[in-house]
């Protein structure tokens, strides 16, 4: 939903906005455009050719600037790759890799991540970020076994560091993507047991409700969120609000918007 007055004017005068429920209704189009997360905004020219895309949220000014630049061919992946010939920056290569990861050409991200790793310490935090991104790219490409193997290797190589902790949680998410829900719950529960009293355990336990919700097991999802609320009363307020919101939605599912009834 775009409510910022400048963004409303931007769409009224400069762009044509098409809103597509990629999760429940327009799933075929989401597959066609290789959407692997929400929100994803794909910019197309009048002939229907993709210009570029934005995955995730941006502040209003940056959002408008990004798409205005794309319309002029500035800041697109093609433009960045052309300019990379003059750059030896790890950060610049990382940006290109991250951009490719959300396109239909996900595999093109891997050589750029490897370039970043090769340009520095293979066990520093940037390399850890690249390694987790490669594993994430595998998951988004439905290469679930490759993704899990890559995350397990990161856990071994980066023990006790952020990349290892992130990878523990990501394995659970990969199992969800692969629809291996029992494995996902087992993975999250294992994290809860191993990291008792730490934030990672709190987050992992919250994900149990998410797995049941994805499985459409409403009763177990509600029970999991209610258990989480009573077990972690000191958790982050945004997580508490999220859990309460999910319980509300599970008990009273929102009706589809009138325009979505196709």
């Amino acid at each position: 939903m775009f409510v910022d007055p400048k963004v409303i004017e931007f769409f009224a005068k400069e762009m044509i906005l098409v809103q597509l429920n990629g999760d429940r209704i327009d799933t075929a189009l989401a597959r066609q455009y290789c959407v692997s997360g929400f929100p994803t905004l794909v910019m197309m020219d009048k002939d229907g050719m993709e210009i570029d895309r934005v995955a995730g949220y941006l502040p209003p000014e940056e959002f408008m600037l990004t798409f205005r630049n794309y319309a002029m061919g500035v800041g697109t992946i093609a433009d960045m790759v052309a300019k990379s010939k003059d750059s030896t920056s790890r950060g610049y290569s990382l940006q290109i890799a991250d951009r490719y990861k959300y396109t239909c050409d996900k595999a093109a991200a891997e050589p750029w991540y490897n370039k970043v790793i090769a340009a520095g310490d293979p066990l520093d935090s940037v390399s850890g970020e690249c390694r987790t991104s490669i594993a994430d790219m595998y998951a988004r490409s439905n290469r679930f076994d490759d993704a899990i193997a890559a995350y397990r290797k990161i856990i071994a190589d980066f023990e006790g560091r952020q990349a290892a902790d992130d990878s523990r949680m990501e394995i659970g998410y990969v199992y969800v993507r692969a629809k291996k829900y029992d494995d996902a719950i087992a993975e999250f529960k294992q994290i809860v047991a191993e990291f008792k009293g730490k934030p990672l355990a709190t987050d992992a336990d919250l994900n149990v409700g998410y797995v049941y919700r994805t499985m459409k097991d409403t009763a177990k999802a509600i029970a999991a969120y209610e258990y989480w609320l009573t077990t972690y009363p000191q958790a982050d307020s945004s997580d508490i609000a999220y859990a309460k919101k999910q319980i509300g939605r599970l008990k009273n599912p929102p009706a589809p918007k009138p325009e979505e009834k196709k």
Partner: protein, 70 residues
Amino acid sequence: MREMGNFVNMKFGEHMKTRMLLTALALLAVTAVADTAEKPEAPRFYNLDSAKAISAIDNRPIILDFYADW
């Protein structure tokens, strides 16, 4: 000449019909926003073909916003 005249008229008529259809679609989209939203929102479509038809006329780029209502 007669055939050419008919051809021109037909094209003009079709052009007018297309414009009216697209205007109606645009109004529908805006009305849908007015009906369902408490706050003002961006004018939007829910159908890619309608957006492509508008884009072909006024040359504005299209942005597909894939969202999930979690």
